[in-house]
């Protein structure tokens, strides 16, 4: 059993949550961006989280769990048939663009206005972004307190060697 593996799990989650917060920050920064390199207004970005594979030892014990009748039914009832469905750690599978249509405002003097005088603005709601940012902050804090706890455990284990 490796205590440092715990820190990888929590550290990975902190990294993922920070990425999520960065994406929220980018969305809020570009709330009024009408011009991008790809053309058209900025599109709102989302991060997609998924449970990562984790270490093989953990999966082995999970396979043993699936073999036991009671545990297998428990896992199946919760929708976890494959061993890959539950594993330690989280990873970002990708950052995707929101498909919502842009908001259109009439502003004929704007350099990005169309011939009809309409300008396409990104559909970004500050409220949604703030809630997402709050979730990311809380989850980051939760995982950082887990790291703190793990550090405490490792320090305690080192105490054995002291006279």
């Amino acid at each position: 059993m490796n205590l440092f593996g715990l820190m990888d799990t929590s550290g990975g989650a902190m990294q993922a949550e920070r990425m999520r917060a960065e994406v929220v920050a980018a969305n809020m920064a570009n709330a009024e961006t009408t011009h991008t390199a790809a053309g058209g207004p900025y599109k709102r970005q989302h991060v997609i989280f998924s449970a990562s594979q984790g270490d093989p030892g953990f999966l082995d014990s999970l396979a043993t769990a699936s073999g036991a009748a009671s545990a297998a039914t428990g896992l199946q009832s919760s929708g976890l048939s494959g061993a890959g469905a539950v594993a330690p750690g989280v990873q970002i599978t990708g950052v995707v663009e929101d498909t919502a249509p842009p908001l259109v405002r009439y502003d004929p003097g704007h350099p990005d206005a169309g011939p009809d005088g309409l300008v396409a603005y990104p559909d970004i709601n500050p409220l949604t972004e703030m809630v997402d940012l709050m979730g990311a902050t809380r989850a980051y804090g939760l995982n950082s307190s887990a790291v703190q706890a793990e550090k405490g455990m490792i320090t305690a284990a080192l105490e054995i060697a002291k006279s």
């Binding site: 715990l6 929590s10 989650a13 976890l80 539950v86 979730g135 995982n143 706890a149 305690a156």
Partner: protein, 122 residues
């Protein structure tokens, strides 16, 4: 009676520490996936595992992997995730305390041997 450096108690405490680490690991995994859609919290029956580990020590068997199980009775969010922050926070604190208890007891056990080694120099 002869003095043993590796006592039965130290073997038992080793298994206890392993199980406390497993519990912390499961909690960390659940915490990491607090925002993963569709993720279900996983857990273990600490008492049952401990009982089995104690039998294992008495019979001289090597440690066996921990049996994991899905946690029942949690409220799932609309995205299918049922990780509860309170439960995980409590579990982590519990695992940490168990680990520290095990370490303190193990330390005491080794200290006794150390005292026996140094008994002539006092």
């Amino acid at each position: 009676m002869e003095l043993q450096i590796e006592t039965r108690l130290s073997d038992q405490l080793t298994r206890y520490l392993d199980l406390a680490t497993s519990q912390a690991k499961l909690t960390a995994a659940n915490m990491a996936n607090i925002d993963t859609p569709g993720y279900r919290a996983i857990g273990m029956d600490f008492e049952a595992e401990m009982r089995q580990a104690m039998d294992g020590v008495d019979q001289g068997k090597p440690p066996r992997p921990v049996r994991l199980k899905a946690v029942d009775g949690l409220i799932a969010r609309p995205d299918g995730n049922n990780v509860s922050m309170d439960r995980e926070g409590l579990n982590l604190a519990e695992a940490q305390l168990k680990f520290k208890t095990g370490v303190a007891l193990l330390r005491q056990e080794y200290q006794r041997v150390m005292d026996a080694i140094h008994s002539d120099s006092k």
